[in-house]
Assembly symmetry: C2
Amino acid sequence: MHPDFQLWASERLALIETCLEKHLPATNCAPARLHDAMRYSVLGGGKRVRPLLAFASGELSGADQAHVTVAGAAVELIHAYSLVHDDLPCMDNDTLRRGKPTCHIKYDEPTALLVGDSLQSLAFQLLTEIRLTDDPSVQLEMIRHLAFAAGSRGMAGGQAIDLDSVGKILNLPELEFMHIHKTGALIRAAVTLGARCGNKLSETQFKQLDHFSKCMGLAFQVIDDILDAEATTTALGKTAGKDAENNKPTYVSILGIKQARELAQELRQEATGVLGQFGTGALRLQQVTDFIVQREF
Amino acid sequence: MHPDFQLWASERLALIETCLEKHLPATNCAPARLHDAMRYSVLGGGKRVRPLLAFASGELSGADQAHVTVAGAAVELIHAYSLVHDDLPCMDNDTLRRGKPTCHIKYDEPTALLVGDSLQSLAFQLLTEIRLTDDPSVQLEMIRHLAFAAGSRGMAGGQAIDLDSVGKILNLPELEFMHIHKTGALIRAAVTLGARCGNKLSETQFKQLDHFSKCMGLAFQVIDDILDAEATTTALGKTAGKDAENNKPTYVSILGIKQARELAQELRQEATGVLGQFGTGALRLQQVTDFIVQREF
């Protein structure tokens, strides 16, 4: 990782952590155990890839950093809720997340269910806490985008397709369709919400940015599949090898490791190509892209 | 029920049903099974008490009926999601709802989890679909109110307190605290969102209306507890006698039937007293109140 990027990212991770810490209800506020479990599930872990993407696209559009922090934190809350629910026994039944016991292991199943539900509500609440744009109707658009991305035609829908695909043989377009929903929708939302906090982009540029984030979302998932197949549980902080064990179709199971790596590079190149049109303003987006494709956890 | 109220209510129930029907994704849209399960869990059932309250308070504030329809439908989506999750095996483990098998029985547990998650997202999406107020920042306030009411310091928090109270002896203030969150928060949100769609009320009037809805929310729950103890499963469309079976503290277990009935009447009188200050504009709110307190299912 470029040292300059490392500094940029760590400063922004601190902003996100402070924002999440501030807006998650305190543990001395009733119901205390639920709030404790919400904080456990969100704070002190995670790569925060989505907020970093929001910051990077916010720089492109000249957004106020304080506004992007709130937007990025809201997207992260949706992501955190999805992990808590995905880990439940009726879903992936996982016991390890971010190097710690999953929420339903540390607390219990009903609490984990309510943690996820409450984090989703909090995400939308957060998007209304302060004025994020000069025009409040743009802020309504941002909420709309995040709600759509989180819902049945976005992330939750992708999860349903994923569950339905267990034990099935998917072709590449089917796998792509699943991941455009499951991972891609929220990554696109992060990029869009970050950019919407600013005002320097045309609608054409927003479309290009969305094309970039589609490529990014898929690249992210390809790498995720490779890491699940190759990395250790310790390195990942979550159980490795789960996809094969659960008989889930992945980029690795369909393409093999070598071709999956090639695909990740192709997607990275396509994403980089789109960014080229934005000139130097897209430096951070390029660095986050590189970080995502090169990551080892 | 007054025939005039019956007509008023049935017209508005039809509006809500049409709105929900329109905004729930079609079953020919992927993922089809998830969308089928979402429609199964929302359409064609339920008393729609919250939307009726929204319509009644919208009349008080001079709101456009089309706007209140959207706001009321959003609140109903939150309510519907909470029922699907509450019925899950790790929560109340119920098999019957609105006279039909619960979502996880009809479909499966992971689908029911995703149905609830997706309905919550859809509720917030719906609140951004059309302009509900002249001033979009008021619409942001409405979203904020609903998110807070649904979350850990509202409905989901009340559910956590409820789970934690199983087998415990609560006193009346503790029971009230639980229900102000579990049922009350969303009922208050329905009244507030309906009223916010219009513009005829002062902040003092909003506060009075909120006091009304607090009383209403508690009265609703007292009646719910009485019905759970006294009515049949067939009449309720959901399993009767669950509270006693699950060793849950209720108004009936703490006060007994007779005193619980008296409390419901007291709350109704207090609610009616508040409405008196609004004159004839509060006619529908009074009728919905009577309907809620007199209902037998």
